[in-house]
Amino acid sequence: MNQLSLAGLGRLAALLFLGMPLAGALAGESGEYVAVPGGVFQSALRYEDVKDGVRIASFALMRAPVTNEQLLAFVKANPAWRRDRVPSVFAESRFLSHWKGPVELGPQALPQQPVTWVSWFAAGAYCEAQGARLPTWSEWEFAAAADETRTDARRDPAWRERILDWYSRPSTSALPRVGLQAPNAYGVQDLHGLVWEWTGDFSSLLVSGDNRNQGDADDTRFCGAGAISMKDNDDYAVMMRVAMLSSLEGADATANLGFRCAKDLP
C-alpha cells in the first residue's frame, strides 16, 4: 500500500499541486487525486450537435472510487445523510442498506470496498464536502478510454475483450477492495472492472427507454433534436454505462453503482 515508487511520487506531486493537505496523502492512497490532462476527445456517443469532438479541460480525478470507510466518515460528520435520517427525496430506502447500521459498516461492507447503494445526491454531497464535485460523463469516458500504457486504448480488441469479460461476469460475488487493479496511463484505477460510477451530469444522457440497449435516439421525449445515440456499438463500457445512468433517478441506489470525485485544475 505504502510503497514509494516514481508513480507514487508523481501522484504525491499532483496532490500537492492541488493544494491537498499532506495528511490526506499520508493517511492512505484512497481519496488521492491524479491530474488528467485535457484534450479533444472522440466520444463513443454520437452527439448531434458536436461535430469535432468533445473538448475536455484538464481536471483531477480520484485515483480510486470512494470506499465504505470514506463514506462512513462523511456520514458521521454529516448525520443528516445517515440512512435512517436522509429524506427519501435524496436517497431511496436501499441507500447504504448493506451497512450493518446507520454508522456501522459490518461484514457486508468492508472498509476498503467501494461504497455502493449510494444515491446521486449523496455522492454529490460527499464530493462537495471534499471541495470537489462528481466528474462529468465526458471526463469519465475520457479517463476510462485509457489502459495501462495508452491514453486511448479503445481501438485495441484485446482491451475491449477485457472489459466485456468484466461486464459479462455475474455480479453476485463480493466486491474486491479498491486499488487492486493496475493504474491506467493517467494513474487512475478501477474505472473498469469494479463498480459503475455516478457522473454529475448523469441526467444529461438522454436515451429513450425503449431503445436504451441499442442507444438509438428517440427525440420525441425531449425538446429539440439531439438525443444521444451510439457512434461505436462495440464500446461495451460506454454502452453499458450509458444504459445504466440513463435509467436512473437522482435518489436511486444500486448494488453495483458507486462514485469517485473530480476537481477542476487551475
Binding site: 454529516n78 443528516a80 454531497a125 464535485r133 444529461s204 425531449f222 425538446c223 429539440g224 444521444i228 435518489a251
Partner: protein, 197 residues
C-alpha cells in the same frame, strides 16, 4: 452541484421534529419525499427571490423550460393553460403554477417577464423563475427531469407537467404537451384542487 452540501443541513432541519434549524416562516415539517426539501432559491419574473419551499401550501403544477425555446416550451405553457381552462373558478384559485428555467444564464427576470407578457401568462397564479446556474441539475433531479445543453445553447429536456401536493409530494405527471390535456392528469389536478380541508 455546489448546493449538495446544504442539502445535508436542510435535510437535518426537515428530519428533526423540533424544527430548530428549520426556516422560521415554515411551520410544520415537510414529508421525506417532498421536493421542497431541496435548498434552492429562485428569482421570479419581477426579480423577487423566493425560497423554493415557500411554494408549499397549495397544489402546484411545476415544470422546467427555457424562454428561448422555440418548439416544445410554448407547448408546455399551452398544456398548463389547457389544464386551467378545464378547472372551475374555485379550483383555479387553489392551483399555482411554477415554471423553472433550465437556462439561468439567459433567463433573467426581464427575459422571464417578456415571456410572461408574450404568452399572456397571469403572473398572479403563475411564477416564472430561474435558479442559480449551479443548482439547475439538482432541481431537475428532484423533479425527475433530464436535460442536456446543446452546443448552440439550446436544451434537450424532458417536457413534463408535474402536479405537487401542498407539501411538495409528486401526485401526478404527464408528458402530454399542447392543448389536449391528459385525462388522467387532469383528473388528478381536479381532485387536488377540489375543496380541501
Amino acid at each position: 452541484m455546489t448546493k449538495m452540501n446544504s442539502i445535508a443541513a436542510f435535510a437535518l432541519a426537515a428530519c428533526l421534529p423540533c424544527g430548530a434549524i428549520a426556516q422560521p416562516l415554515k411551520p410544520g415539517v415537510l414529508p421525506s419525499d417532498s421536493v421542497y426539501l431541496l435548498p434552492l432559491t429562485l428569482t421570479d419574473q419581477d426579480g423577487i427571490v423566493h425560497e423554493w419551499n415557500s411554494y408549499r401550501g397549495k397544489p402546484r403544477l411545476v415544470t422546467m423550460f427555457y424562454t428561448s425555446c422555440q418548439y416544445i416550451c410554448p407547448l408546455i405553457i399551452d398544456a398548463g393553460k389547457a389544464i386551467e381552462r378545464s378547472l372551475t373558478p374555485a379550483q383555479l384559485q387553489r392551483l399555482g403554477v411554477v415554471m423553472i428555467s433550465l437556462d439561468p444564464a439567459r433567463d433573467s427576470a426581464t427575459a422571464l417577464k417578456e415571456t410572461a407578457a408574450k404568452r399572456r401568462i397571469d403572473t398572479a397564479r403563475w411564477s416564472l423563475v430561474a435558479p442559480p446556474a449551479a443548482d439547475v441539475r439538482a432541481a431537475a433531479a428532484v423533479l425527475g427531469i433530464r436535460y442536456r445543453q446543446l452546443a448552440d445553447g439550446d436544451f434537450n429536456h424532458t417536457s413534463v407537467l408535474i402536479l405537487l401536493d401542498p407539501d411538495g409530494r409528486v401526485l401526478a405527471r404527464t408528458e402530454q404537451m399542447g392543448s389536449n390535456s391528459d385525462p388522467g392528469f387532469l383528473d388528478a389536478v381536479r381532485r387536488a384542487t377540489d375543496g380541501g380541508p
